[in-house]
Assembly symmetry: C2
Homo-oligomer: 214 residues x 2
């Protein structure tokens, strides 16, 4: 098993957490997203993942892409500990929480988007940061409302064991903090984030702990 990763990629960070929770230790292959205009856009990596995005996971002779598809695959092929609950409604809830981060927050604040805003629209650094914070605040605010109002929320996003939604939450909070997003109105998110960070699986997946960290 090989994981194509970048220490600061939010999507790769999600998969690293899931792998650690499963006790899996793939070979880590760093793909530098900034060097030479982005190694992920070079033909060598495009042959691995035509999307030119990290992460990608090689397993069973196949190349898997998209962080949530990879985490679901890990959960199906290596069921313990489970990252999704057993009941259909609970699974739908964990997937929805995960997707609200993976679809409605993270893609808007990705490196390639910020580059487009600076390059094509010539927005200022301040405008770019305001854009970043806006989508973080809108998305995390909605997530806070969903977590706070549900009895299914426990020590973690769903119950008292960490799962797929937590694998998404922690990297998103890390990103938000990097961009100085004000998180003080998000007590449930901060509480769950803290509970996660106390676990070795989350700690070892942190960007600063990766071999390619700068």
């Amino acid at each position: 098993m090989k994981l194509y990763t970048y220490f600061r990629s939010s999507a790769a960070y999600r998969v690293r957490i899931a792998l650690n929770l499963k006790g899996l230790q793939p070979e880590m292959i760093p793909i530098h997203l900034l060097k030479d205009g982005g190694m992920q856009l070079q033909p060598a990596y495009r042959a691995i993942n035509p999307e030119g995005l990290v992460p990608a996971l090689e397993d069973a002779g196949q190349m898997l892409t998209q962080s949530l598809a990879i985490i679901e695959y890990l959960d199906e092929t290596c069921p313990q500990p489970a990252l999704l609950p057993a009941d259909a409604l609970g699974r739908a809830r964990v997937r929805a929480l995960s997707l609200s981060i993976a679809c409605d927050i993270h893609p808007l604040n990705n490196l390639r988007i910020l580059r487009y805003l600076s390059g094509e629209f010539q927005v200022t650094e301040e405008q770019k940061n305001a854009w970043y914070r806006h989508w973080c605040e809108v998305g995390l605010g909605a997530l806070e409302a969903q977590l706070a109002r549900s009895e299914a929320t426990g020590r973690f996003c769903h119950g008292d064991t960490p799962g797929m939604a937590d694998c998404c939450l922690v990297p998103q909070v890390f990103n938000a903090q990097r961009f100085n997003v004000d998180l003080s109105a998000l007590p449930t998110i901060l509480r769950i984030n803290q509970a996660c960070l106390e676990l070795p699986a989350f700690e070892a997946a942190h960007p600063s702990k990766q071999a390619d960290a700068e």
Copy 2:
């Protein structure tokens, strides 16, 4: 079962296709995304879905959000015909194809994003359309490469029966065509889109066939 929908919402369109493929006919509740600054942002709908996005599906007394989570739920609770393959690698592939649309194309071209670009960055209509086409072209180009190179691609995105990835593909192609994106370099996508449109489940889900169509 109730579906909160908007005729032209790409994410609602995905779920309508899945419901039709399953032969399910929920009550349709239109949420007008433009009227009064957007009905999805009003308190009445926020109480249903704090994210302020469509679709949402009410079933078993629960409110489900996020189109892909809803489709997976439908597939688990109403297994025939299956929208995901039985094997873990196949499921990972279908999820990755779906997520490449739901995470890497659609969120960038959503109504609220285009509004932000016009309102905050004061981009011109031409710049906004160029942004739209850019992310469509990048995303659909990568999807074409993934579909074209895989033996798992059949009459549909995965094999010869329609599934979750096709539920995502058709609304995205519809959107791209609305914005005059050049699709001529995407023969596999166009072929699969055509095969889907020949099926009644896809036809009945089309924006122009909805009760709230304008």
